[in-house]
């Protein structure tokens, strides 16, 4: 996949994540968060390897206050895995690529 990870905003969250056909992984991040920036290349790699089978998106918590509040996020990076519009799993803090891969495979 040539395209990078798409940013999602509050107004499109329902349509792009909750009503998505395929499973979705949303990375809640902010520019001031060092670990979030460090995780970014890992997510890009996963995005590349899973292609269209799983949507991987990111949500900037500074620009989008509504969605992080709805999921009561108080720590970033937080990664939420959605399947059929429901939270499948939630991972707080940086984590290994292989653990993320395992969860993504479980959602397929």
């Amino acid at each position: 996949m040539a395209d990078g990870i798409i940013e999602i905003d509050d107004s499109h969250f329902e349509a792009d994540v909750i009503k998505a056909q395929q499973p979705v992984l949303v990375d809640f991040w902010a520019p001031w968060c060092g670990p979030c920036r460090a995780m970014a290349p890992v997510l890009e790699e996963l995005h590349g390897s899973f292609g269209d089978r799983i949507k991987i998106m990111k949500c900037n918590v500074d620009d989008n206050p509504v969605t992080p509040a709805k999921f009561e996020i108080k720590s970033i990076p937080t990664l939420i895995f959605f399947k059929n519009g429901k939270v499948f799993e939630q991972v707080i803090g940086i984590t290994t690529k292989s653990k993320l891969e395992d969860t993504l495979k479980k959602m397929l």
Binding site: C33, G34, P35, A38, V42, E72, S75, T95
Partner: protein, 309 residues
Amino acid sequence: MKQFDHDLVIIGGGPAGLTAGLYAARARLNTLLVEKIVPGGQILVTDWVENYPGFPEGLAGAELVQRMTDQAKRFNLPIESNEVLSLDLSQPIKKIRLSDREILAPAIIIASGASPKRIGVPGEDKFYGRGVSFCGTCDGPFFKNKVVAAVGGGDTAVQESQYLTKFARKVYLIHRRDKLRAAKILQERALANEKIEIVWDSVITAIEGQKDVESIQLQNRKTGETTSLPVDGCFIWIGITPNTEFLGDAVRCDDYGFIEANAHMETSVPGVYAAGDVRNTPLRQIATAVGDAAIAVSSAEHYLENLTL
């Protein structure tokens, strides 16, 4: 025919690992650096580094990591994202078991670092990510105009409490003794900061709330008195514990689990070195980690030169 995959395998990609990688790559050793998550280690979560020489204005921990990574990569250091599961050091050619394969190398530098220590009180795990945090730069901004507790008395606790006051309207610094251990300059700043109130001689006995942190239970170690302090968050900086799960009893460690290594960074096993926070060292700083790493590579080079297989 070569009997091994790499001359040197470096375990861990924090400041020690990246520096070892830089030196090893420049020494033209066939090196592989294995990092479990992403390069950086604990400095990734350090808001601001101002005691690492060469950066007079200071810089963000994440920025310093990026620079160290770029520098190592400039000399073509391969960095692999993989987990070391175990080591077999019984032969001169050591076996390193990764999540997907086994690799062989005569020399290993262990630079796997350390992780924040947990207090071990009720509520600590339950509220992780719901008010309990080990990372001020990650989570501080979620506590705008809130009241938070910070636990500890060393450099990290005192510096990060200062950082939290950028967001929180009040920071209670909970410390078990009657004086802080942090560097004097950090203490002076904290004591001068009106938003920081130090709660002396006290330990946390529980973290409580419904869905999120609402209060902490404190016990005064001198009087024995127990109080409840309403807070929205609780940041824990009480020290570190070494990342050595993969090690078993392969090398000798001290009573706290830190690897014993001498001034040459040699461990109890020839050809195996330790560098940085994972080592039993009197000081754990970026500056000491990079020094350890340079020495470790130099020792590994000598070892490899004299190795007869």
